[in-house]
Symmetry: C2
Subunit: 347 residues, 2 copies
């Protein structure tokens, strides 16, 4: 049986050759139509489309990837936490990737260890992704990897080298600074900071923003508190802080830690915001409905994902032209009920 010969009715999935035969054109023309290439007569195009529809033709991406060397897919290395921030970012990434006409492959790295990340990258590379997104990477340790595709670092400076790296920040430093400034503006002498795990870039950025705000006013810098993003760790930090009456303002690096912190504070008899003000970080809308409603800063997840993917796709498709212009997302402070002037000020 020669290739392209008749196949028993309904035997197996139709291939582009079947479409070509039905449409009365060559396989190459079918390929042109399916790839929106120019130089196809409108009539041929219609015939091909109709034939594909009639046959229920489904393009085989594996074959295309093999032949073209590109998979039209983007891989993302995500961090394992199911928190609002990570999840929200992922949803927006998916959306942006899909809009750009790419498919999404995901590998999660529960702990974000350099080794795990290297494995994740390797796995993505084997799958032939055209580009990679590293979402909120870890700062610690060196990642060993041979990256021959463009990489987008979302929310952090490049953690390793690749053919071409593109970076989009989420403005975490500025957001942290705005959160701290808000507290300072209210009259607090200084602001304590409950940070995330030290290995995260996100943690580092927030610490820097907080520090900068303090320094700009000459406010003393209290010792850093350490959490792990979980409400439990916020609670633990809150218990510690509650015993120190000089604490009147705390900036937590995540909404959930802020919630745990507030709970511990109140349990210890300190009122929020009357005695202690607390501001969170992320902007999960549900915390508008707790008591007190949480003052927080909103992370521009959608904008960051959108810009980042645009840049990444540009690096993939037109590596030799100038990247599209990018704009800094606005800093959004959401003032709700968990912050107020310090108690002594009124006395």
């Amino acid at each position: 049986m020669t290739p392209g010969a008749e196949r028993g009715a309904g035997s197996s999935a139709p291939r582009s050759a079947d479409v070509a035969r039905l449409a009365g054109v060559s396989r190459k023309t079918v390929s042109r139509v399916l790839n929106n290439e120019p130089y196809v007569s409108e009539e041929a195009r219609q015939r091909v489309l109709a034939a594909a529809e009639e046959l229920g033709y489904r393009l085989n991406h594996a074959a295309r990837a093999l032949a073209s060397g590109r998979s039209r897919s983007i891989g993302v290395v995500a961090l394992g936490t199911a928190g609002y921030g990570t999840a929200s970012l992922l949803v927006h990434i998916e959306h942006a990737v899909r809009d750009a006409g790419y498919a999404l492959r995901i590998v999660n790295t529960p702990d974000g260890d350099p080794e795990e990340i290297a494995d994740a990258l390797e796995s993505l590379l084997e799958q032939g992704v055209d580009g990679i997104v590293i979402s909120e990477p870890i700062v610690q340790g060196k990642v060993r990897a041979r990256l021959d595709v463009p990489v987008l670092f979302l929310g952090a400076p490049p953690a390793f080298t690749a053919t071409r790296t593109v970076t989009v920040g989420v403005g975490a430093r500025d957001l942290a600074r705005a959160a701290t400034d808000h507290l300072l503006d209210l009259g607090h002498t200084t602001v304590h900071h409950l940070a995330g795990p030290r290995r995260w870039y996100a943690t580092k950025d927030r610490i820097e923003g907080w520090r900068a705000a303090l320094a700009a006013r000459g406010a003393p810098e209290p010792p850093l508190l350490n959490g792990d993003w979980s409400p439990d760790s916020g609670y633990a930090a809150g218990r510690e802080l509650a015993s120190d009456p000089s604490v009147t303002a705390v900036f937590a690096a995540g909404d959930e830690m802020a919630i745990g912190l507030i709970h511990a504070l109140r349990e210890a008899g300190r009122r929020v915001p009357e005695d202690v003000s607390v501001v969170g970080f992320d902007g999960n809308p549900v915390f508008a409905y707790v008591s007190p409603p949480l003052t927080t800063v909103r992370q521009p997840f959608e904008a960051a994902a959108g810009e980042g993917i645009r840049l990444l796709v540009h690096a993939i498709e037109k590596p030799d032209t100038d990247p599209p212009p990018t704009s800094e997302p606005p800093v959004e402070l959401v003032v709700r009920g968990s912050t107020a002037p310090p108690p002594d000020l009124g006395a």
Copy 2:
């Protein structure tokens, strides 16, 4: 230049032929080693592995998929909400899929319309996934799709037909029943229910569980409240309910709606849990730290994802053998501070 001939040093990525040459074996033997097939001498295996390592060889999955007809990847159709439930489920799915040695491809359907779902499926199928996971599907409308791979329906009965479908529930009905029973056990005459969007299966299950609990005690069934999972919708429902003094217990179909609901109730002067008890659904740990701590039922996301993927992989790899046994996840009611006996009982 004959195929397999010397290539200029560092010219391009090494292929299996390069590994074969360096190891002094045939390409097929390389393939055998890489696929963990039997009938390879230990010595040959080591030589191949060493050669691959030395060359920095990376398997080309596209070529493998094309040749073998299988991609060793699983696609998931996710729903667009970035809520705790969806995100948590996704994380566990990713983990289970990876453990099984498969890669993950994701398509999100913001609204979960049947048409969107059909598109998502089509896109996954073109990518050549070996199996598909539909996470928490929508009940409404018919999905048109030609599914020639096994499909896992997670948390819902099959919404359409496929070659082979496997279903794993999350026990939502039993969980809803347990939540309602808890309130009834406390002495409440009846329990109101704030449901999710009607198009979701998850909504339907929870309504049924609630209804069954009520019926079993002969409790009157109050009119259903409708939300959309968002805290805003919980708040809106709460405002409505607050004006009716006969309401003493509410079961909300999601934690976030419960939080909004409680806020509205308190704003209207009704105390929780003294005047009105509220129980949520999902088990997001952060709500242990709000006031009052939220009583809720925990969804067995991890168990469901694990069992589901095991079943799906079985259907992919050994379609002709009996599926592995599955066990019902336990019902976990987490009693915290938002529930108490009704006010009149004490009077």
